[in-house]
Amino acid sequence: MSSRLFVALCLVPLAVFALAFLALPIVRLILASGEGDAGWAIYWQILQTPRYLTTLIQTVVVSIAVTLAALAVSTTAGLFLTRNRFRGRAVLLSILTLPLAFPGVVVGFMIILLGGRQGLFNALLPGHVVFAYSIFGLFLGYLYFSIPRVLLTVMAAAEKIDPSLEEAARTLGAPPHRVVIDVLIPALAPALIAAGAIAFATAMGAFGTAFTLATNIDVLPMVIYTEFTLSANIAMAAALSVLLGIVTWAMLFLARTFSGTTVAAGG
């Protein structure tokens, strides 16, 4: 057997699998979205039906809020952990990256333990402080799985910044906040955009967390799920899935353009 043929044969299992279980199903999904009563106008219908439009806006707003919060928290923590060496740093870093392997449902349960009826806040504070099933609970759940992802991206970039740049700025008399605005943020900008895009895409598509917490909240993955299982509105479920897939893919493509890596979307 020639070497060339062998290398080509090495690709066959991947090609067969990707064709049968990735390419064809995606094509089928796209076609299915046009097979409803409305035909391809179903995508127009999404924007015209108040329920879908509100869902879409609500999902985007929550995802943007989570992205900004995760960026603020993880950039602060990430810079602190890159700059300082102290006892317990490794433990702190492990704690902050641990949720990477938690499925979205478990993250949802973590928020229930904090803000549910038997939750920590309801036990410690007088009165009834139950926020797990509100939009705020959902926000916290998304933040929970976004912090580790953003942190890793920011820290990888922060380790590459030349410390002499900061020193130079300081020697030239720049106050701390000017150092952050003029040196750190520009140096971190590609990583921040990438991390933000990852956080946004993950929040948009998070099904597990929403499944546990958002029984009364309309976010896109939950609406897709109910359209499919309860309403049996296959075409609409497919159309919303296609729309969601395009948005999350585009965001992660953006992330890869700005920095080499992407952390798995999931949640």
């Binding site: 290398v7 279980f21 949802g108 479920a237 979307a265």
Partner: protein
């Protein structure tokens, strides 16, 4: 502390860590407490763990089985493919890598709907555990391919292979004796990632599973919705005991593989 900015940074870091850690501790405690509502005073017990074992042990074994099967399939598909891609770097390989990475970018729910649309009517397939396996392979395969590919791309594959070829080794022999041993750090990192992600996969699995085939995370969702807090917590505790060592091993292996590529 002298510097107020640093104090603020430390506070934010500690608060974030507390936000992530406190509920996991609560979950561990709740799973071991006789009555969580009354608190630790009611005493500690392993009873809830046994209850979970009676109710859900089949889901735990199903998840382990699927994770191992997923590992075998991703090895068979992923390692040769990564080799072929490393041998032919270029635009086509980039496009292929981009395409098989789509399951990382498209939410699992959408992928599961796509699989159901195409294969939902083939009942023999739809109702078997291999349907869930396909979903897991779809989601974990890009990690295996990328992990192996990044290691192979960093070594001088061509020189090594030419050396072996001049000694008379055929292409299959070279793959087994040269490529696989050199790719081992990448294969190990990929394998640990595949197993960790497969055991925790929910978004695809929830749509693909049947009432008779519940994986661990599906069982977790089930217990969160219908069981008392202690049972849900004990089940989560079992999940943590399985997933945390895997995650730590995965981070160690990935860091090790990355050192080779630099």
């Amino acid at each position: 502390m002298k510097n107020p900015g640093r104090f603020l940074q430390l506070s934010v870091t500690l608060l974030a860590a507390a936000f992530l850690l406190v509920p996991t501790i609560q979950s561990v405690l709740a799973g071991l407490t006789v009555n969580y509502f009354q608190g630790l005073r009611s005493g500690l017990t392993l009873n809830w763990i046994f209850v979970v074992w009676d109710l859900y042990s089949s889901s735990i074994f199903l998840s382990l089985g699927i994770a191992l099967a997923c590992l075998v399939v991703t090895l068979i598909i992923g390692v040769p493919a990564a080799y072929a891609m490393a041998r032919n770097p270029g635009r086509l390989t980039r496009a292929l890598e981009e395409f098989i990475s789509l399951p990382l970018a498209i939410p699992g729910l959408a992928l599961a709907l796509a699989l159901l649309q195409l294969y939902g009517t083939y009942k023999g397939f739809r109702l078997s555990w291999t349907f869930i396996l396909v979903g897991h392979v779809l989601y974990t395969l890009p990690f295996m391919v990328r992990s192996v590919l990044s290691v192979l791309a960093a070594i001088d594959l061509k020189t090594l292979e030419e050396g072996a070829a001049s000694l008379g080794a055929g292409p299959a022999r070279r793959f087994i004796d040269i490529v696989v041993p050199n790719a081992l750090p990448g294969i190990l990192a990929g394998a640990l990632t595949v197993v960790t992600l497969s055991i925790g996969e929910f978004n695809l699995t929830w749509m693909l599973h049947t009432p008779y085939l519940k994986t661990l995370p599906v069982g977790l969702a089930d217990s969160y919705a219908s069981m008392r807090l202690e049972i849900a917590s004990a089940y989560t505790l079992i999940f943590f005991v399985m997933i945390v060592p895997l995650l730590l091993a995965m981070q160690w292996a990935s860091a090790r593989a990355q050192r080779i590529t630099q």
